[in-house]
Assembly symmetry: C2
Homo-oligomer: 487 residues x 2
């Protein structure tokens, strides 16, 4: 390297395998995604990080709009008396609320909660806006930030006191409409993981003792991280009539009878970005799927004094061909950096495909493509280059997905007893499936011993054969529980 | 009308001319743009209102990105000690800050300001990220909400304690770079008013006593409302080195000398939507320019029992042709509403163009187009319909702009004395231009007498001949002052 000092500052020094937490923090900072704010628990999302969030948001927002959702914006503050109207919400969130108590030089008459989630301010307006069955279904969404005053250690995107998310809130005629909505949004979350983040997820229900406060059913997509922990990747709640009753969301049906609506809420936060970074990145730095990367392709020209002009001209021609094809491409023609330095820098930043052009490529009218995840090299013709690059980007997406899928498949194991659950998670991490009686008390000993919990049960009981008995207490099993350590 | 009750509920009852404030509030609510939140000073932005903001944002964000701006996200809270680091900021905003003092069940060690503007949290990070002249210019922007605890009456979009905006923050090598940036953003604000909001604005500087706290120069775009008051439509600040000095934003120049950066900030809020609604709407309700409207065209089929099928088929064909051309179009084929009801409803909602098709249009293969602003009717051929509709939409935009321009041009008057200033603004509203010595003391008597103030002085002193003497005190004039009442 020509520039050893900068190189050292740029490079990742921690190991993903041996010090996952430190490695993750280093990737986030050195790839320029985020920095720590002066207040514990808060981060600053830098342009490279925010760009990823914007792309994810753009795709998901498009799907929402195609399926009847309209965006709105509700106040970031919720009066304490509103938060108290649904008792489960206040019990669930009260310990985590940041309170505004002073405005200007005056103490406020009533404390205002900085929204931890917005059911309590959205539901009263739905109540006003919904009069008749013709006003249903009503589907609102907002992209905003929320605050939850958790005392745990800051982990950028995974765990921060303020985080960006979207929260959808809908009202329907009946249970069936609301349940279909709950599933539709869960499926969209699964799809955004698969198609945008290049990650498989498991879909399931949270056990009753771990539902969203006030929900009838909380559904979840769970992603397995390479260190064997599960991340709750997005949740979609069927709220039944609890919020509708607390906030009086009723409507006149077609026979003018007064009926109570059924509501849902569903949210996906920037934790999805945390899961993305954790899953695909490596000891060289960030790895991004082509769906989210900018640039998707970096062109690194390799020249000597005697062929500099020809190589650079060829590189510029290649850049123009790719960007005309709609690809996000950057030509790194910096004079004061050698190719090796550039390779490292673009690898650190996660660019999925490197395109090298030197005198050989020039002469033969080809380009050398290098896949970020595994360094695989492919030489392709200049003719039809944009198509070849698009195919290689698809291949990179496929590789990322396949690796994550292998991790997930290898990470689901079965157990027949408490000792086996403890031993398996202790040794391998990942998910352990077992029979479960349905009693929270049977989760407690596992939680206390190894901090693993039931992250989900299958959505459809009939879909998987249930073990005959609860692996912990031996009573007849009601469910198949997936135990795992979590983020 | 077949449905008088609903009709009455839908229609605007206040007069724009005689009770502008009440009329404005009624339009905002009945067109479904916003509602009042339970806490004074806060509003709920409903889907139809948020959609307008999203379109405005999309356009402006695109221009920002084309001109080197990257989006980021900084925490919504600013520690009190950070706010205090730039003395003008703390003096300027302290009376308007909402304070978070409790997190969960604990009192915080340090109060956290809910951001009233983010210079104080962004500047310290710019200080960390900027090392050498190669890191400049740095251009960051965020779309977010801010809170200013003002005690005045709530006016949706114009004056709310929480509001949505974008705030850009940039750092440059020197005064020239920062000044060019300040002007570039001011020009983009002017352009968004002209091209998107269909409104002319005046560009100018705020007088020194009304600058943004800590700024060297505050520039502004001002829009004249039909009731004769001026709205500050967006501001772009050249901050000089005050923030760079307070937060240590320095860089090594090409000769490794340590130099202080020059910074800017610039913001446009949803007040632009307030100005839009106030300017174009009328006693029938909202009027939107085609740039922001969804739908842009509403098709109202007019049928009798014997031609219903043919008319509806023709209407559907027209809808499909327009939407294939990329227009936002809606076919209102509701059976239980008559055409008159539909006309009123879509007028209330501000749809720029109504397309009527009845048996005549069917037979003659034409369509009747009605302009929302003035009811002008044009019959066009089915062949080439999409092009005709696009031209008519351009015409509607032009009409809206022309009317607003007439108001602005007629609203600028000159005055030579204090009495003339008071009399002219008292009688006509609008702007009064006069010579001004530059002393805040000469604004005071005008402010006290009729609540008018100096909203701007021309950017370029050479561009307009300056009156010889200050209209108030008679001393030699330094500037041309534009006095007006404001929102």
């Amino acid at each position: 390297m020509s520039d050893p000092e900068t190189q050292q500052e740029l490079g990742i020094t921690e190991s993903k395998e041996h010090s996952t937490g430190d490695w993750y923090a280093e990737v986030v900072q050195k790839a320029g995604l985020a920095d720590y704010a002066p207040m514990g628990g808060f981060i600053v999302t830098r342009p490279r990080g925010y760009d990823i969030w914007e792309r994810l948001k753009h795709t998901l927002d498009g799907w929402f709009k195609q399926t009847g959702v309209t965006n709105a914006y509700f106040p970031m503050f919720i009066p304490e008396s509103y938060l108290e109207r649904e008792k489960d919400i206040v019990e669930g969130f009260d310990p985590e609320v940041a309170w505004v108590t002073e405005g200007g030089y005056d103490e406020l008459d009533e404390r205002l909660a900085v929204r931890p989630t917005s059911e309590s301010i959205i539901a009263p307006f739905m109540s006003q806006w919904i009069r008749s069955h013709r006003d249903l279904p009503m589907r609102l969404n907002q992209w905003c930030s929320v605050v939850r005053w958790e005392a745990t250690e800051t982990k950028p995107f995974f765990r921060t006191k303020e985080f960006l998310w979207q929260e959808g809130h809908t009202a329907h005629h009946d249970r069936e409409g609301a349940w279909d909505e709950t599933m539709l949004r869960l499926d969209q979350y699964e799809r955004v993981y698969e198609e945008v983040l290049a990650m498989p997820v498991l879909k399931g229900r949270k056990p009753d003792h771990d539902k969203f406060p006030g929900a009838d059913t909380t559904t979840t997509v769970e992603a397995l991280m390479p260190d064997g922990k599960s991340v709750q990747g997005g949740t979609s709640h069927y709220l039944g009539t609890s919020f509708a009753e607390a906030f009086d969301i009723t409507y006149a049906d077609s026979e003018e009878r007064d009926r109570t609506a059924h509501t849902t809420s569903w949210g996906l936060s920037w934790r999805a970005m945390g899961a993305l970074i954790m899953t695909h990145s490596d000891d060289q730095g960030l790895v991004l799927p082509p769906t989210l990367a900018d640039p998707q392709v970096v062109i690194v020209p390799i020249w000597q004094a005697d062929n500099r002009a020809a190589v650079l001209e060829y590189a510029a021609e290649v850049e123009s061909a790719l960007s005309q094809a709609g690809l996000r491409v950057e030509l790194d023609d910096r004079e004061n950096r050698n190719p090796g330095f550039k390779y490292n820098e673009w690898e650190l930043r996660g660019v999925p495909l490197r395109l090298e052009v030197g005198p050989n490529e020039c002469a033969e009218e080809t380009a050398t493509l290098v896949h970020r995840p595994d360094g695989e090299t492919v030489t392709v013709d200049r003719e039809g280059l944009a198509d070849s690059v698009e195919r290689q980007l698809d291949t990179v997406h496929g590789k990322l997905y396949a690796t994550a899928e292998e991790t997930l498949e290898a990470g689901i194991r079965e157990a027949e007893s408490r000792e086996e659950i403890l031993g398996t998670i202790g040794r391998h991490g990942g998910y352990v499936k077992c029979g479960w009686c349905g009693d929270e008390g049977c989760e407690t000993p596992i939680k206390e011993a190894i901090a693993a919990e039931i992250v989900m049960v299958p959505l459809d009981r009939a879909a998987e054969p249930i073990h005959r008995s609860c692996a912990i207490c031996g009573d007849p099993a009601e469910e198949t529980a997936y135990f795992a350590r979590t983020y």
